[in-house]
């Protein structure tokens, strides 16, 4: 038939195969580059941070003298903030998700809520800081307190928890809901005893991952007026506070090399906390996740 010009196909074959090989090389190079960056980053932080890492570093307060400085106030501040953020964001997030998945009718309002949540997820964290500064710190008169910081963080991670919970609830199959209704259970009984327990591992995984994002978040709390130099531990919800990332920012922004090494030590602690949280999340996902 002669539809295909064999000569020209043959002529081009070599260069096409070479292009494929070259492209593959480039793609692998790019992937290796990302992995290499992670490796260098971890190596840098370990070599800079390990010398200062000790038990004293964890239990000491911040100090002007690098050899005496520690992260105790920042560590407890982070725990206090999480103690507010975790329950508030969990209740609001799961409540919203249950409403959207189980109760909401398919109308304009529901669509609006859904679009609103996906847009909230894209708002820069520093803007949440401005929101918290006006609403919680000034209007509600909470000051730069643990409560104001925790509530701001809750709103920041709310969209992540809502989306994760919705996905978890959606994986619960219709059949077991209908079985529950068939046994005479009401809608709320079905949600409470069937849907929620079945979706809980997924919800918890999403919540812990969202909280680990909040642990590493700096900007909103800086804007709220969290202190950078704190030599006390928060006593109640209305105490002033600092958190780990803000302490690290404070050390990083000083010119002396010693404080940079302190920051690296703090980063090791922060990364260990995040690693533990992520491991728990992965563990829950693998251990308790039901496949229907």
């Amino acid at each position: 038939m002669g539809l295909i010009n064999k000569e020209s196909v043959k002529k081009k074959m070599g260069s096409r195969i070479a292009a494929n090989g070259f492209a593959k090389f480039l793609f692998i190079l790019a992937t290796c580059f990302s992995l290499l960056v992670l490796g260098v980053l971890i190596y840098r932080i370990l070599t800079e941070g390990l010398p200062y890492l000790s038990l004293d570093f964890i239990t000491n307060f911040a100090s002007r003298m690098p050899e005496r400085a520690g992260i105790w106030a920042a560590l407890l501040g982070t725990i206090w903030i999480m103690a507010v953020t975790a329950p508030v964001s969990f209740i609001l997030g799961v409540g919203t998700a249950i409403y959207l998945e189980e109760y909401a009718k398919k109308n304009a309002f529901t669509k609006f809520v859904q679009i609103n949540i996906s847009n909230l997820a894209g708002v820069p964290s520093i803007v949440f800081g401005l929101l918290g500064l006006t609403i919680f710190v000034r209007l509600a008169g909470l000051g730069s307190s643990v409560l104001a910081g925790g509530l701001t963080m809750s709103l920041l991670i709310l969209p992540v928890i809502v989306v994760a919970s919705q996905e978890a609830i959606r994986t619960v199959p219709r059949e077991i809901r209908e079985a529950s209704f068939g046994m005479g259970a009401t809608k709320w009984q079905t949600i409470r005893r069937i849907v929620f327990p079945a979706a809980l591992p997924g919800i918890l995984t999403g919540t812990i991952l969202a909280l680990s994002r909040a642990v590493g978040e700096t900007a909103p709390l800086l804007v709220l007026g969290a202190l950078a130099y704190v030599a006390f531990v928060p006593e109640n919800l209305f105490s002033q506070f600092t958190v780990l990332p803000i302490q690290l920012y404070n050390w990083t922004s000083r010119p002396q090399e010693e404080f940079h090494m302190l920051a690296a030590s703090g980063i090791i602690i922060l990364m260990i906390i995040l690693l533990i949280m992520n491991s728990i999340a992965v563990f829950i996902r693998n251990k308790f996740h039901k496949r229907f």
Binding site: N20, A30, L41, T96, V123, I126, F128, L130, T252
Partner: protein, 317 residues
């Protein structure tokens, strides 16, 4: 006999209990949805709160500084006496866009290459190994990236670039923001490319296409809406990024951009003011809301654009 009696009693009491619990659960059935509705409404109030906060404080700001000056002045020097102060957002916007542009120059080619490698070349085993590592890269707090930019990337650039580079500059945070965004672009683009049905790849391969040709001429065009949307979301992330540019970018807002010199982004300015001892009610205090509003509008447009692209140009198979 006596046993029967107790049975009867217990059945009667069971019915009684059932009735009371039924009326109880009837109340629950009505109350519970309302509670959840309130939770859902709080998320709307968050958005309203953001818009309300930014608008009111920005209006106060514009009652002191003319809106024309805000958008046309190219100098941003708020920390002087009131009559000498300059509030020209252009300097901050240019700082932000410079960092974003550098970040995208790093993140788009690398992110896309990683996505193509993972979805078209890598074996299932390799993919299973690399994806969690990328997730780790995505989960690192920005403060850590900021530290990395200041203490590693800047000194490195200082050695590489002839003539050196100042401690605070646009290049180093730009590159590191780009690195931070690589996993995001890679995973979103890979999702889009994975959604392309295998039959299309097999069809192209049966016609004699190489893997590279399949990736570039078949899969990429088919997944283009998702890939472009991932770029736009990446840009939005870079614009809103705060800690990396605050730590490594410096605090010298300028309209004549030189990537080896100190700059200031919108986000870095907001942090700088919150860190200082600016009193409540001063013009500088209100200026962070005007800057925040500009930032919010920029990222909102980008996010809406990303949603529009992925919805409008999606190819259905």
């Amino acid at each position: 006999m006596s046993r029967d009696k107790t049975n009867q009693k217990s059945i009667r009491s069971m019915i009684q209990e059932n009735k009371s619990s039924r009326s109880q659960s009837a109340v629950m059935e009505k109350v519970v949805p309302k509670i959840f509705l309130i939770c859902a409404i709080i998320s709307i109030f968050t958005t309203l709160g953001i818009v309300f906060t930014l608008l009111t404080e920005t209006f106060t700001f514009f009652s002191r500084i003319s809106i024309v000056e805000f958008f046309t002045n190219t100098r941003w020097f708020p920390f002087t006496s009131d009559e000498n102060a300059d509030y020209g957002i252009i300097a901050l916007v240019l700082g932000t866009l410079t960092v974003t542009a550098i970040a995208m120059v790093v993140a788009i080619p690398v992110g896309l290459a990683v996505a193509i490698y993972l979805s078209e070349y890598a074996s299932a085993k390799t993919r299973k190994m690399i994806k969690p590592i990328l997730e780790v890269l995505a989960g690192i707090p920005t403060i850590v990236y900021g530290f990395f930019a200041l203490t590693f990337v800047t000194p490195l650039l200082d050695k590489i670039i002839p003539g050196g580079i100042s401690i605070f500059n646009a290049l180093s945070p730009g590159i590191v923001v780009g690195i931070m965004i690589i996993p995001m672009i890679a995973s979103l683009s890979e999702d889009a490319m994975n959604a392309v049905p295998n039959a299309m790849r097999e069809g192209a391969m049966a016609l004699g296409a190489t893997r590279f040709e399949v990736a570039i001429k078949v899969v990429l065009p088919a997944a283009l809406s998702g890939v472009i949307a991932s770029f736009v979301l990446g840009i939005s992330r870079a614009i809103g990024e705060t800690m990396i540019v605050t730590i490594a970018g410096g605090s010298r807002p300028t309209a004549d951009i030189n990537v080896t010199e100190s700059i200031q982004t919108m986000t870095a300015y907001i942090v700088q003011v919150s860190q200082g001892d600016t009193g409540y009610g001063t013009t500088i205090y209100y200026s962070i809301y005007a800057v925040g509003m500009t930032l919010f509008v920029f990222t909102l447009i980008m996010n809406l654009l990303a949603q529009f692209i992925s919805r409008k140009f999606r190819e259905e198979y």
